[in-house]
């Protein structure tokens, strides 16, 4: 590895101190082998500027905490290797989400609101019987549910989404993917009519403009386009059915 000197331009703003306007601060670091943005930011905090705010938890691309805009693209910082980037690296917080400070944003509240709005839990009238065997499920069905369930709620799809940047109430690809996960689950007893209430409008499946940045940006490589089409198709069928019923009335 050549000894590059990396120049980081990092967004600084502390909402607790609104009198200091947002600005970009520059830090220089010597690159080391295997360096990730996780390693670099911790080095900056420990050696250059202990006030710098950012979020990491698992540092293994499992927990979704560390999404930020790296050289213009929303992605997970922990798995971004500096060797794949030019020597000048710009770091910005994710847009759409409320800023906690510097690079830290409040994805937690956004995703909680979304989960409550879509009632993202298994809706069942069955009581759990501790003495009974589990209900059977086809392994293929389990794997199909796991696919959208892999979402780590990092917010990259939302941050890069034109609609989400314009409409605060848009569920985003992550929200639609979350709904798809429950639609696929035979344990969830919600009817198409009930789902239509949740995602059948502009803030749901029909708000998407089809730019598909979400699909490109997903660090978990979840086929968001496929999940969106699945939900839209279901909702379209339900929407048409409702329309026909209305005409019949």
């Amino acid at each position: 590895m050549g000894n590059r000197t990396l120049t980081f331009k990092i967004f600084r703003y502390n909402p607790q101190k609104p009198e200091v306007k947002p600005y970009m601060q520059e830090y220089k670091l010597e690159e080391v082998s295997g360096m990730t943005i996780f390693v670099a930011l911790n080095k900056i905090r420990e050696e250059l500027d202990p006030s710098l705010m950012f979020d990491f938890v698992c540092r293994a691309a499992i927990c979704g905490s560390c999404a930020m805009v790296i050289n213009g693209r929303p992605t997970l910082a922990c798995k971004t290797l500096t060797k794949d980037l030019p020597a000048k690296i710009s770091l910005l917080p994710l847009p759409v989400f409320k800023l906690v400070g510097d690079l830290a944003v409040d994805t937690g509240t956004w995703f909680r609101d979304m989960a409550i709005k879509t009632e993202a839990w298994v809706h069942t009238t069955k009581e759990f019987d501790p003495t009974a065997l589990e209900e059977r499920m086809d392994n293929k069905t389990a794997q199909e549910i796991y696919e959208p369930d892999r979402c780590v709620e990092c917010g990259c799809c939302v941050a890069g989404c034109a609609t989400a940047n314009i409409r605060a109430d848009f569920l985003g690809a992550a929200g639609i993917n979350r709904v798809a996960r429950f639609m696929l689950d035979p344990r969830d007893e919600r009817s198409p009519e009930e789902y239509y209430e949740v995602v059948g409008a502009e803030e749901g499946a029909f708000g998407c403009m089809g730019l598909m940045a979400c699909d490109d940006n997903c660090p978990m490589e979840i086929p968001l386009q496929t999940q969106l089409s699945f939900v839209r198709r279901k909702m379209l069928a339900q929407g048409l059915k409702l329309k026909t019923e209305k005409v019949a009335l």
């Binding site: 993202a120 839990w121 589990e134 059977r136 389990a142 796991y146």
Partner: protein, 601 residues
Amino acid sequence: MSAYKTYVTDVLIVGAGLAGERTAVEAAENGLDSIILSLVPPRRSHSTAAQGGMQASLGNCAMGEGDNPDIHFQDTVKGSDWGCEQDVARLFTETVPIAVRQMSHWGVPWNRVVAGKKTLPDGRELEEKKEKEGLITARDFGGTAFWRTCYTSDGTGHTLQYAMDSLVLKHGCTVHDRIEAISLIHDGEKCIGVVARSLRNGELIVYVAKSTVIATGGYGRLYGASTNAVINEGSGMFIAQDTGIVPLGNMEAVQFHPTGIVPVWILVTEGARGDGGYLLDKNHHRFMPDYEPKKKELASRDVVSRRMTQHIRAGYGVESEHGPHLWLDIRHLGKEHIYTNLREIANICKNFAGIDPANELIPVRPTQHYSMGGVRTNADGHAYGLKGLFAVGESACWDLHGFNRLGGNSLAETIVSGMVVGKKVSEYTLGASLEYSEQTIKDEVTKQENRIKDLISGKNGNENVYKIRGEMEQTLMNYVGIFRKGEDLQTAVDKLQELHQRAQKVGLQSSGEGANPELASALRIRGMVRLALCISYGALQRTESRGSHAREDYPKRDDENWLKRTLAYWPEGAELPQLDYEPVTITELPPGDRGYGEHAG
């Protein structure tokens, strides 16, 4: 003293991982209000990083046929090297099948039995039965007599946490994230709640509750190389110990996982070996069968970690700029299996090591992974020393694991302890009244405010928190690892005592204003060094080898003198923990030969 916000609730839960959230769900089902405090949004908790699975003796898959809670109990007790509480282990193994099925009811997409004939990577043939098709299946894990580890691909912790959090949402339990409990409020007899600091704006907040539950996970980050998330700093343990009356149990029992990826120390699940992966040395020789002909790569974790270290010491390690390592080989499992059942591992190898494990070998070395010790509680999860204080999951030592935890028993413990202790917390809380003196709260808030003021002003000194931390991490790495000996442990204790002094002279370099991250680290450092001292000093005193605690100068287990649990107290003003010991509860299985060699398991 400045004004502060106060929240009052029935049950206060510190930590929103699986154990904490399962406790909240239990409290909600008993009609109680709760507030969960968490450093991070719940779905970012370290529980989500658990990959391999959850042990439950369902006996659905062909290789699990004939399994039952008795055998799971025996495996757990043997795995613990007879250090665990057998009444707890019995309750656990009886409850865990119900827990797995309940999680299924709540939405976990467990992998299921697919009927038909299969050939395993080692050539063994088996047939999954038609009548079991669609039931929850299991994979092989270390130290178990049967295939017992239920899983969803290698994202088991993730799917469990997401399902559990969905229940928390459904019940409308309150979660305050980006909040850190920095001390317990108590009157010497009863816990009243916590003083917390907001990681959003730095303000202090008081939480008052009839019962307080610590569910903050392990302390992995005391070690320089750990598979743990960066938030695993043992905070719940040291705020409990800081009371002076609540002891920590068996802190010297530290688990090293055989397969952390060199040099990023991210975990490769035991499922990789469970599904048929091999460990190879520098000559690409599969060495584990030489040491452990029966269990091979799937002996207990402590045994495999020791054998790997022994093999590296014998000169068979692969040299690298990050020190010697060994290889994990899963190539023979095939692309299809790797990209479905070990998919997260494939991603991790690609992202962090630039390796495709379907074609290449993975560099691995044993890495700190799990804290068997923690806040000592009774079998109800009620902490020693303070009424109304409970602990669950990895932060607790109700003592399911003794001196070595089996893979797949930690996810299982989070949920079972949440169920069992959650019920006991509910019973206690329903019978408790909220009585406390306002002065007790004010005193604790003032104490914390002064600590913060002193750190910001540099009144006690200008020691750099990150430097102390780095030295602590290296001390544990160098002297309190897989193999231990008296002189090394003494070196560690001496160094850590020096660091303990310096930790009380920390001064901030930055302003400390608002949600300042340096202040957050500075508030933790003294407690972290104390935990490191509990580990090292406990290990120095324990002159025997048991489970993960392997003394080269005392290589044998010594039941006559050491069939007992260490309790570490920290009285006010002390420079070292005060150690006490208590007997281990043995109800069914008397201490026997676990086998450190050929028959280990």
